[in-house]
Amino acid sequence: MARARIDLKRYPAFGTLTWACIVLLYAPMLVIMIYSFNELRSITNWGGFSLAWYWKAITNPQLHAATFNSIVVALSAATLGTVLALCAALAMSRGRRLRYQDTGFAIINLPLMVPEIVTAIGSLVFFLAVGIQLGLLTIIIAHTVFCIPFAYLPIAARLQGIEGYYEEAARDLYASRWETFRFVTLPLMLPGVIAGYMLAFIVSLDDFIITNMVAGPGATTLPMAIYGMVRTGFTPEINAISTMMLLVSALFVSASYLIGRAGDRKYNAQ
């Protein structure tokens, strides 16, 4: 469109507002990161540079068990969630139009809109009512549910961008339905699948509220362990763990974004 748009950047308060947002969002993280390198056992007084708290965090056996649990949960939930999201996306955008398509779309994405505490309590009540022992299994089930929309959105976006004629060309060239999916549809949507998987993995890894509700005794994840430590006393060890988690999150989210974008560019270039 050639029509001149109103340039928001020309408004007088724009710059100030932008900086206020950036500071509010990132200053706390910056502080956390800085004090993770503190020599002192304080999170407010600086006493010199040290990696001691990182060493302490890495060698803390309690955190080992929690990290292991978190990774098992995140891998399982992200894998299950991505497979389900993939099936849902294929059903929605390929094949004939389904009867309750819009309702289906809303249900898939419901976990994004329902307040997390409601989902948490709902899940807990459900597990108790059905009689499933609370533990890693219930965490995985609950995580799978909220992983689905995070995996679904990038996959569906990617699938939407793939013209139907590639699949027709494959069928025309003697590929069965399965071969068409295996050699054409899946490779073309792979960037979306990977992006969705990584996003699902990271939201599962970070989740606290739902996890805490459905965990039961013994099944402690990393965010739960951190929360427990905070309650018994705040040391820079927590800063060190948080900084490491932040780093992992940032890596995953950036990778997910870059892979998705690279896929778009590679295949939509023509």
């Binding site: 069928r171 060239l173 270039a269 023509q270």
Partner: protein, 368 residues
């Protein structure tokens, strides 16, 4: 047409109707189309956009089901076969090259799905890349090729599995004029050398006339005329065909009766001029006739013995030809086309008096 008569043909299409959608939204894309296509034929479906050409190709390829009618391939009904079980390949309008595969992998795709030996696949891929002159591009991706090169890959990919029938859906429409003209010659040559039956779709009448053994002119889901390029151009059987293929003067006439000497029909135009027309028409009926502009002779007053006097209204220089718009004494306006090489009428200017001559039989009676 009976099933029996279709046995010897490569493709038989019998009373095929295709309706998209249901109820109030129903669109009839094909309305009882019947035709047969011979083995080794270069067959063209020609018609304006939206007349149902792509729909007919998609039915042959197996992407759409007919609403009624039958489709035969070498005498076998193929309605039940999915696209991957039909010995038919398609060159898609948008090429549809797999963007994540190299040129070589694209071309090998069909052969791999057919389970051919790797050595055979390699040999065949090299062979078709020779045919479409794509040597040196084997390891490029489609995104790194020009439109013309992509077009060649699409052609190579469809030729590689040696299909019985090749469907081409407006394959040249995205190319520029020079390339398009070059590809016409190449496509025709490939068709003759491989002996594969080509079913070619286009809305460009020049393309159709240049390449086809036979042409089916389509409009609004129906075949208007089926014949060789020459038959369709010189003997259009209705107004749509006469108008769509080339330029034509279309006039309303009244049939007076048969002309004993020549075997033509004597007709009179609304303005009162009498002409001898080819084709059939009952005396007293009022059909239209088509006269090709290049079949009318024009010259200065006195240059022809039995010329009809007229006024020159407009002269357009077209390079190879010169186009005249003339007005007869009775008010009838005609377009006349003369090759510049003939020099006939080259001295005529707008406003001049001139004479024209319509040879007997050049006017073709049309069904409406």
């Amino acid at each position: 047409m009976t099933t029996q008569s279709l046995r010897g043909d490569a493709v038989g299409i019998e009373q095929v109707t295709k309706i998209y959608g249901e109820g109030a939204n129903a669109v009839a894309a094909l309305k009882g189309v019947s035709l047969t296509i011979g083995d080794n034929e270069f067959f063209t479906l020609l018609g304006p956009s939206g007349c149902g050409k792509t729909t007919l190709l998609r039915i042959l390829a197996g992407f759409e089901q007919v609403s009624a009618g039958k489709v035969f391939l070498f005498g076998e009904e193929i309605e039940q076969l999915p696209p991957n079980r039909r010995p038919i390949n398609t060159v898609f309008q948008h090429y549809a090259l797999f963007p994540h595969m190299t040129v070589e992998e694209n071309i090998a795709f069909g052969l791999k799905r057919l389970g051919r030996e790797p050595a055979e696949i390699r040999a065949r891929v090299g062979e078709v890349m020779e045919i479409v002159r794509l040597g040196g591009f084997a390891h490029r991706r489609p995104g790194q090729l020009s439109g013309g090169q992509q077009q060649r890959v699409a052609l190579a990919r469809a030729l590689a599995p040696q299909p019985k029938i090749l469907l081409l859906d407006e394959p040249l429409s995205a190319l520029d004029l020079k390339l398009r003209q070059q590809m016409r010659v190449e496509l025709k040559q490939i068709q003759e050398n491989t002996g594969i039956t080509f079913i070619f779709v286009t809305h460009d009448q020049e393309e159709a006339l240049a390449m086809s053994d036979r042409i089916a002119v389509m409009s609004q889901g129906e075949v208007q005329q089926l014949g060789t390029a020459q038959e369709i151009y010189e003997r259009p059987n209705n107004r749509f065909v006469a108008d769509f293929i080339g330029d034509a003067n279309i006039l309303a006439v009244t049939v007076l009766g048969d002309d004993d000497g020549s075997g033509y029909r004597r007709c009179r135009t609304a303005q009162g001029m009498e002409i001898l027309c080819a084709g059939s028409g009952a005396p007293g009926s009022t059909p239209h006739v088509s006269i090709r502009p290049e079949r009318i002779a024009i010259g200065a007053v006195g240059s022809m013995a039995d010329g009809i006097a007229c006024d020159v209204e407009r002269v357009v220089y077209l390079g190879t030809n010169r186009q005249f718009l003339v007005c007869l004494a009775d008010g009838l306006k005609l377009t006349v086309l003369v090759p510049n090489a003939l020099r006939a009428g080259s001295e005529l200017q707008p406003g001049d008096k001139a004479v024209i001559h319509v040879p007997p039989g050049t006017a073709q009676l049309l069904k409406d």
